[in-house]
């Protein structure tokens, strides 16, 4: 079976000594930062990104991935023992885990968390291995409109799933989008919002933003709050190997948590935190004794821990198959892949199979390593917890600064990071979350590029690039496209068309008629738009296109569509679209005859009136 062969290739890659070493380093680092409050996987991956430049890409990704899911394991340790979440996804574990520790069952809680996480990690890895090829095939049929809609979905989900007020989350996303605008405009070549600094001509690096908002801001927040006395249950970490009855009690929770986590990890805007919260609420709903939750129920530890681990594994699916990051950490992974000249997207699996399957296999190996790291070596991590924050934060500060500086060897980046640290602190003070800002910052430029490409296609062919399949995508991209000069050239006709589409009523016939009328009207605007496109593109191309249009007009509409579609590279769709437009015209006439029957029209007479078509001037 293909899966077995691919997994064999993956294990072969992952079991090489170098990759094993990097996986171990990643898991160790991940557990370390998961245990330490105040530094998370985003900041660490951002810090280590530049240092992975010298490594081979597989090893770099293995290490970074190890950090990511290792942090989920480590976060549970602090939540259970100290009531301080090491990770945002471990917040829920605090509720029941700390209560269990206070009752002396810390060892059981830790063991269930680790074993549940391992099971969930295995499930997650299997899902990645099984579904990734399917998703890749699906994603190959994605057009640009679909990618755009996915990104919009990501932003919307980030808003919806964010804890806290909706307005604040939207404000954060828009701020992120605005920061993403800084730099050279894709279409016109003008520098935007750079305030005269040449260093931001390429846009602000996301590492700078991530470190500033997550690392520096976190340090400032912790220092401003002041370190308090933390009650650490160090002595009562015994009984690490649970009894069979306890395992049986926790097993259904683990299964449910893994399932929920796997689903939520794939969704954009989801991630381990959401998965943990959702799993906890689910457990509370289906529990036989819901009043136990909050007092030390074992399901309250098992479910969120399994969920956050499953989510962190399946978060790799959209990254590796579609090239779209579902959360901020995955966006940094995209940065890592770009550093190594790997273009994230559906072709990663086919062009770099050893990378893909090696990463998948090392996920499972990493989970295994993490169970070993977490259970027997728990004493080491516990001792680490007793280091006061005042010794740790200078180290974090130094690592942040070095990480940011080594990206571009520019001290300007450090000043930028200062600015973002200040911004992050203000954001936290105002009660907003910094994560949507980072998502908006990363997805904004991507969305703008796709939008610009869509507008160019629209100007060339006079019709949306994927008309019937994703009208919502088209109208949303139309509305979102404000900065492209292409839009200005073809704006009027397209706006009218999108307004027509917006006013879709409930009846399918009426809506289809209106859509078809607009498509027919679009044909009239086609020539006008084609010439607008010509004016925009320049004289040399203009002459060629104009000549082609005149030839095609003489030959008939069909071949013109073929020519322009060839220019935009989608000939098959355009050919069928050309035939479809004739059917469209026919259907429109039939509808019109139904609505206003005229004596001259006979039932079923529907010859394409191509010769009667004349482009009107003001449509």
């Amino acid at each position: 079976m293909d899966l077995i062969a691919n997994l064999a290739l993956g294990f072969e890659t992952a079991l090489s000594l170098q990759n094993l070493l990097y996986a171990f380093t990643g898991c160790l680092l991940g557990t370390l930062i998961g245990v330490l409050p105040g530094i998370g996987p985003v900041a660490t991956i951002a810090m280590l990104l530049p240092t992975t430049y010298a490594l081979p890409p597989v090893s770099a990704l293995i290490m970074l991935a190890g950090i990511y899911y290792g942090a989920q394991y480590g976060g549970s340790t602090t939540s259970i023992l100290v009531n301080l979440p090491g990770e945002s996804s471990s917040v829920v574990t605090c509720l029941d885990g700390y209560q269990m520790a206070r009752k002396g069952k810390a060892g059981l809680a830790l063991a269930v968390a680790a074993l549940g996480s391992f099971f969930a990690g295995t499930v997650g890895t299997l899902l990645v291995a099984a579904f990734a090829p399917l998703m890749t095939e699906l994603s190959l049929s994605f057009g640009q409109a679909e990618y755009f809609s996915l990104m919009v979905l990501g932003l919307v989900s980030a808003v919806v799933l964010a804890s806290g007020s909706l307005v604040k989350a939207i404000a954060m996303i828009i701020t992120g989008l605005l920061f993403g605008l800084i730099g050279v405009d894709v279409n016109s070549g003008t520098t935007r919002f750079s305030l005269g600094f040449a260093e931001v001509a390429d846009g602000i690096g996301f590492v700078v933003v991530a470190m500033g908002m997550f690392g520096i801001a976190e340090i400032i927040t912790n220092l401003a709050r002041g370190g308090g006395e933390r009650e650490v249950f160090v002595k009562s970490v015994t009984g690490l190997f649970p009894r069979w009855t306890e395992l049986r009690a926790a097993a259904p929770a683990v299964l449910r948590g893994s399932a929920l986590g796997s689903v939520l990890g794939v969704l954009p805007g989801g991630g381990p935190t959401i998965a943990a919260f959702a799993a906890y609420s689910l457990e509370k709903k289906v529990a036989k004794h819901p009043e136990e939750f909050g007092q030390g129920a074992i399901q309250g530890v098992a479910a969120p821990e399994s969920a956050n681990n499953a989510a962190s594994q399946t978060a790799f699916i959209p990254l590796l198959t579609l090239g779209i990051p579902p959360n901020a950490t995955m966006a940094l992974m995209i940065g890592a892949m770009t550093i190594h000249n790997i273009q994230p997207g559906p072709q990663v699996m086919t062009s770099n199979p050893s990378l893909f399957w090696g990463l998948v296999a090392s996920m499972w190996i990493g989970n295994l390593m993490l169970v070993i790291l977490n259970l027997p070596m728990i004493g080491l991590w516990v001792k680490l917890l007793t280091i006061p924050y005042k010794y740790m934060f200078p180290a974090i500060l130094v690592f942040c600064v070095i990480g940011v500086f080594s990206l571009n060897n520019a001290t300007f980046d450090i000043y930028l990071m200062m600015g973002f640290g200040l911004l992050g602190y203000i954001v936290v003070l105002l009660g907003c979350e910094p994560a949507p800002l980072l998502l908006g910052f990363i997805l904004g430029p991507m969305m703008e590029e796709i939008c610009a490409a869509l507008c160019c296609c629209r100007a060339a062919t006079g019709r949306p690039s994927s008309p019937a399949r994703s009208p919502a995508a088209c109208s949303s991209s139309r509305r979102a496209c404000w900065s492209s000069s292409c839009c200005r050239a073809s704006g009027r006709g397209a706006r009218r068309r999108s307004r027509k589409r917006d006013r879709r009523s409930a009846g399918r016939v009426a809506s289809r008629a209106r859509g078809e009328v607009s498509a027919v009207a679009g044909r009239a605007a086609l020539e006008k738009q084609a010439f607008a496109f010509i004016r925009w593109r320049g004289a040399a191309v203009a002459q060629l296109v104009e000549q082609r249009i005149r030839n095609a007009w003489g030959r008939g509409f069909e071949s013109f569509r073929g020519t322009t579609a060839q220019m935009s590279g989608r000939s098959t769709r355009a050919k069928t679209a050309g035939r479809r437009s004739d059917r469209v015209g026919c259907r429109v006439r039939r509808l019109r005859n139904q609505i206003l029957p005229s004596p001259s029209s006979a039932e079923g007479s529907c010859r394409p009136l191509r010769n009667a078509w004349r482009p009107r001037s003001g449509s």
Binding site: T51, K390, Y391, F393, V398, V401, T411, I414
Partner: protein, 73 residues
């Protein structure tokens, strides 16, 4: 908060002048001033330890390029 940000700025300013090692030490010293309960001796020890370990890891180990200091070359 201002101390932390100020220490970052000081690092950025000091890096081409003082070189990596001393800049890191300066960063740590200034940053530690933000924590109110550190004794001067602790600050110096932490600064030295961090500077030495960072120098070993980043400059010697990972060979990251840093600007050579104006004072020390």
């Amino acid at each position: 908060m201002l101390v932390v940000l100020g220490s970052l700025g000081a690092f950025a300013l000091a890096l081409p002048v003082l070189g990596f090692f001393l800049s890191v030490a300066l960063l740590v010293v200034l940053g530690s001033l933000a924590a109110r309960d550190m004794k001067p001796a602790e600050i110096i020890i932490v600064a030295l330890v961090l500077a030495i370990s960072c120098w070993l890891v980043f400059v010697k180990g990972l060979a990251l390029p840093f600007p050579s200091s104006a004072l020390f070359g």
